[in-house]
């Protein structure tokens, strides 16, 4: 379910958080789905259980998961909404990228074209709920 890049610059606990959120975003994990236990995940990934616990704690703090004592951790009702809200940072990235492109004198039409292409290529069946993803240009 999770893929850890041990040689990446991103800390492992952040990788886990990001991947859970991506799986929720894509619909592979839906509210009510159970997450693997820290112990089984630690064994399958050969990863430090304390690190994984930290990732799970953070997911719970964000409200993406809820834990039910005795039965485990589940994706919360609010998770899909929270994940979309969390996508703001990606929009900020688009803004930053657009700023760079603007400074390099790439015409605005080309940037908008690139955004449209990406949306057309990936929008099959998985209609994005928010079409205003074009970053404001500064």
């Amino acid at each position: 379910m999770f893929q850890i890049d041990r040689f990446g610059r991103q800390p492992i606990y952040e990788q886990i958080i990001d991947q859970v959120e991506q799986l929720i975003g894509s619909g592979a994990l839906s509210p009510g789905d159970q997450l693997p236990s820290v112990r089984s995940l630690s064994q399958t990934l050969s990863a430090n259980p304390n690190t994984l616990q930290k990732a799970y704690t953070e997911l719970e703090r964000r409200g993406v998961t809820v834990s039910v004592p005795g039965s485990g951790r589940f994706i919360s009702k609010d998770a899909p909404r929270l994940v979309i809200e969390g996508m703001q940072s990606f929009l900020d990235e688009i803004t930053a990228l657009s700023a760079k492109l603007c400074l390099s004198r790439v015409p605005k039409e080309s940037v908008l074209q690139a955004v449209n292409t990406a949306y057309e290529a990936n929008a099959n069946g998985n209609q994005p709920q928010d079409q205003s993803a074009q970053g404001p240009t500064e």
């Binding site: 041990r6 040689f7 610059r9 991103q10 800390p11 492992i12 606990y13 952040e14 820290v38 112990r39 630690s42 064994q43 050969s46 990863a47 430090n48 259980p49 304390n50 690190t51 930290k54 400074l103």
Partner: protein, 303 residues
């Protein structure tokens, strides 16, 4: 909880450990890194009660560890060179271990040996270095201890074995709240394995931190301004290192990523990018700040 206070150990006139302080909580995987001769192995031998401190103390739950039999039953030490009885087999060593560890689990020992495919009735003298490490590791894991000390032990193991040993250790940590201390000079290995890291330098701990926090406390900034500029452009940042090529400067900065970014962004840069550092880079710069060029086994400063 293992606590070292002003721990000092001298060998003739050389202080291997000098006024070292640290806290190692239960259930943590604690990594000790440092150059050769920094005092890693000395620390482990003090921690498992083989050496007596010259000054200061090292205690577990408030009791001195040196020659404390009750405590030592809870410790299993896997040294870099495994000591064995002459002409013994692994099974004979298991009996030997069981004479000191009253909770030694022979069932677990046999099943681990089977899992690792280790011939328990062949003489240990015919074993390769890696196989001896494996033998020492399964003996430790069967000892019933809940504190495991590894001195450079992952070095001699192949990747498959390494994963297996890690899985076993993690199960111990999770199921029994076991504490693991690992020394190494391979940061990659420790970054991956530990949740707490300490950097030993000249017999003292100069840096102790959560692995996750370490990676986020320092970062790299690439910045360029139009026209000429000097170091005064970076006032207000805690800069550890500047490397300038042409108009582009690469800075290693400590502190908040967002604040630093905002501070420079306000100066209308041509280029401004923040990049995370690898743990290796974090250590290199921390060591440089101490005036020491850290030699890394893996070829060092990756871009």
């Amino acid at each position: 909880m293992i606590i070292a206070q002003n721990l000092t150990k001298r060998f003739s006139d050389v202080a291997a450990l000098d006024q070292l302080n640290c806290h190692i909580p239960e259930g943590c995987v604690y990594g000790l890194v440092g150059a050769n001769g920094a005092g890693k192995s000395t620390f482990l031998r003090l921690a498992c009660g083989v050496y007596r401190p010259d000054e200061g103390s090292i205690t577990m739950d408030g009791h001195d560890i040196y020659e404390n039999i009750q405590l030592k039953k809870r410790f299993a030490f896997v040294p870099d060179e495994f000591w064995m009885l002459p002409q013994s087999t692994v099974r004979r060593m298991a009996t030997f271990y069981a004479s000191s560890y009253e909770h030694f689990d022979f069932k677990r020992f046999e099943s681990l040996a089977h899992e690792l495919n280790l011939p328990v009735s062949k003489p240990l003298s015919t074993f390769s270095k890696g196989m001896r490490r494996q033998a020492a590791t399964i003996l430790a894991l069967s000892s019933g201890a809940d504190h495991y000390f590894f001195d450079e032990t992952f070095d001699g193991l192949d990747p498959v074995m390494r994963n297996l040993v890690k899985q076993k250790l993690y199960a111990e940590v999770f199921d029994r709240g076991a504490t693991v201390i690992i020394t190494s000079h391979s940061l990659r290995e420790l970054e991956d394995t530990c949740d707490q890291l300490a950097l030993l330098y000249k017999g003292g701990i100069v840096l102790e931190s959560d692995v996750g926090d370490l990676k986020t406390s320092l970062f790299k900034l690439q910045v360029a301004f139009s026209g000429d500029y000097d170091a005064s452009a970076f006032e207000g940042l805690e800069v550890l290192n500047i490397n300038r090529q042409g108009s582009v400067s690469t800075l290693i900065v400590r502190g908040s990523k967002e604040k630093s970014h905002a501070l420079l962004a306000a100066k209308a840069p041509l280029l401004l990018e923040t990049l995370p550092l690898t743990l290796e880079e974090v250590f290199i710069y921390e060591m440089e700040a101490l005036g020491y060029a850290f030699e890394t086994a893996e070829g060092g400063n990756k871009q």
